[in-house]
Amino acid sequence: MESEQLYHRGYCRNSYNSIASASSDEELLDGAGVIMDFHTTEDDNLLDGDAASPGSNYAMSNGGGAPSSSTHLLDFLEEPIPGVGTYDDFHTIDWVREKCKDRERHRKINSKKKESAWEFTKSLYDAWSGWLVVTLTGLASGALAGLIDIAADWMNDLKEGVCLSALWFNHEQCCWTSNETTFAERDKCPQWKSWAELILGQAEGPGSYIMNYFMYIYWALSFAFLAVCLVKVFAPYACGSGIPEIKTILSGFIIRGYLGKWTLMIKTITLVLAVASGLSLGKEGPLVHVACCCGNIFSYLFPKYSKNEAKKREVLSAASAAGVSVAFGAPIGGVLFSLEEVSYYFPLKTLWRSFFAALVAAFVLRSINPFGNSRLVLFYVEYHTPWYLFELIPFILLGVFGGLWGAFFIKANIAWCRRRKSTRFGRYPVLEVILVAAITAVVAFPNPYTRKNTSELIKELFTDCGPLESSQLCEYRSQMNGSKAFTDNPNRPAGPGVYSAMWQLCLALIFKIIMTIFTFGLKVPSGLFIPSMAIGAIAGRIVGIAMEQLAYYHHDWFLFKEWCEVGADCITPGLYAMVGAAACLGGVTRMTVSLVIIVFELTGGLEYIVPLMAAVMTSKWVGDAFGREGIYEAHIRLNGYPFLDSKEEFTHTTLAREVMRPRRNDPPLAVLTQDDLTVEELQGIINETSYNGFPVIVSKESQRLVGFALRRDITIAIENARRKQEGIMLNSRVYFTQHAPTLPADSPRPLKLRSILDMSPFTVTDHTPMEIVVDIFRKLGLRQCLVTHNGRLLGIITKKDILRHMAQMANQDPESIMFN
């Protein structure tokens, strides 16, 4: 029986290994001073009558214990209490418990598999339900992303005019079949009418400029106002980017309603409105949120995922991969993004599921293909000119710029959000959105580079100037006269068009840098990827054009003489824009591998991976020199979410007893004795304190640990008992043991709460170094850990205590004495 107990123990323990991301967990569990408390004492033997107490510790998993362990009739008669095992809002889940519950369920289904064909089908369905959820999520994400793309493009162009022949076409689609487009003006066609033309009747002139300006501001303001009103009335959780909260949810936090149906609908609708209003935001972060909502909603169709919070988070990891996949058209980048940025635990199974979800989502989006030329690759670069070794210097400079801008942006944005959070200014969200939208619209309209859609701006900046381009950025002074043959894109001096474009780009850069600080964090769905890429692309293009002119005017310098021939194509400014975009995005989010893959999938520029990697690495180093957190971790810290970052290292030498509660001046630890309490006393303890759980000890004299009981489970169990069982009164005895204690004959019926007791809480000794405790919390996903001294219960460490301790240590670091 002992071995069976240990077997069940070990079986449950092995499940932890699958959820941990490092491979050194076996060592952690077997050594390093961590004490696992799993023996039956002689006291228990006396009370229980035999040594065969149920080996499976999480007997409270609603479904009863594993069939082979419990042999007591009473246990079979005990029905599972509805609601036990669920979590309160804004609480952390217990990963260990959830994984054990899943193993129980899996074992039960597998053991019944051989009984009948129906059971076999059920087991097949159970095994395949994971893939089904992920497929449905991918389908829904792809469809919603297609909807958002089409609607956002249309509404964006609504600010400048309408297509009279077909109202649902945007500017590009309206002029798709028209033959009146010219080489110089690719957008002109008679079917598309600007507002000035419609209202005033004339297309050119100062009057129509002012009318266009006015209509632009009007539409921008009305879209922004609609968006914030919808968010405020229907789903306040739909604002913001969503990625910090999803990171926290995936690490084990519960935010009820954050991934619900209304949030999904409102986020989709208002994302389109927010993007169309011309605000300096993108739609990639919110698309991840939308995809996770889909994943969450579909997981409720399958009891395997709806009842188990840990399994649900596997689906959410896959869903976030699908989200990035449709946002950028980058399926592999999406999987890596989910691995690097969003997920907390990422075992191989989640990797496959994410891969599949990204694949399905990309496929659906591609088959919707509304815009022609299969625009799944957003910013396709069609040049294949080589890059030269000396160009690494400007690339690294762009990386430095990206890192500096990222650090500056994070500090400024967090300061602004903190101001919004703590002062009276934050009480007027609608007014704030309207104000920001108004300022953005007023300043953005005169500059043609800020007036257009940010994605179009990035596309134009990425595109290199070839003979087929005719934008203002490509107005080089050509030296050809009538007889000279037209050579493909030699280095040429810049014409006046290029100079004015440079000025406008500089102004656009300053404008975007300033406005994005105030826009990210508004109470509308807002993403960060596209604005950062725009800033980087503008900076990169400016550097690229500068390098190009440098190479032309000083072609006799050593650097250029080696690699650039006169009249040959040497510098590609479009490539600089690409590298700049990657550097800025890396500087603000501190992604590395996933960013390079996303940019390469966005542009198709396979030859340019090395410059991209160099720039991203540089920007990460420079950014990390100013602060270790990316923008999402900074927002997590601003909101105070209980997120134990697995990227940080805990290097201090404190011990467990310095962090545990109760501290020296605190009231003693609130414990429950295993068979001494009455219902009234128990309710009193629960009402007087606000702790989430209570250790259960044998008796006040011995202070030896029996298990751990959660507050929510206790309250639900008591309520249930009062409703269902007769004879439970306020002075009924509550017992956590297997058999009721001996009571006098006239006492009311005792209440057995053993089913909600966690018989295997994690314990450490008081001399355990905090490094190891933090490691255990991180790798196993614990919520609390008990501290013992010489075998007796001393105190408790919760995740919040650890986070507070880490914050405290971070501030005190220079002063603390670093010898052991």
Partner: protein, 171 residues
């Protein structure tokens, strides 16, 4: 069937040829409604601006691309989006303006004030009530709808408090 016929529009394919400036000829864009096999310079560029021996040189500089789009999808999506947006706007107007007016007219002032403070502060046992009472189902459909709507309203109010008032989440 209607959807399919909506999606098959003959105007949805095109071949677009961009030809850069060549000698005296200016840059030009040509579009035609041809299929993939005819999508090249000779078929699409019409009328040809240069004479016989220059045609090849001219055509070498041109870039022709075949493109397809689905105008039916675009139309369907925009109409669906606008209708959902319109419905939401109507519901929002109803919730914020009409419903309080109607309630006030039917029930008087006292009920209105009471419903806002209904969210009791009796944790932890209030939560237990919620969890257990979910198992009791009412047979009346209208009651269920009303119940669900009330619960949803309470949730939204809680969310609004956390996000907008106390700035606990999503600041």
């Amino acid at each position: 069937m209607i959807l399919l016929s909506l999606l098959q529009n003959s105007e949805d394919i095109r071949c677009k040829c961009i030809c850069p400036p060549y000698r005296e000829v200016e840059g030009q864009i040509y579009k035609q409604n041809v299929s993939l096999k005819d999508c090249n310079c000779l078929h699409v560029v019409d009328p040809m601006p240069v004479d016989g021996k220059d045609v090849e040189a001219y055509c070498l500089r041109c870039e022709c691309k075949y493109e397809e789009r689905s105008s039916g999808t675009i139309k369907f999506t925009i109409i669906m989006y606008l209708s959902i947006l319109g419905l939401l706007l109507l519901y929002m107007v109803y919730l914020t303006l009409l419903e309080p007016m109607l309630k006030r007219r039917l029930f008087g002032h006292s009920q209105l004030i009471q419903s806002d403070d209904d969210v009791g502060d009796q944790q932890p046992f209030a939560n237990a009530h919620n969890v257990l009472s979910r198992s009791h189902s009412r047979s009346n459909v209208l009651n269920k709808v009303e119940h669900a709507q009330q619960r949803w309203r309470r949730q939204v109010q809680e969310q609004r408090k956390s996000v907008f008032d106390r700035h606990v989440v999503l600041s």
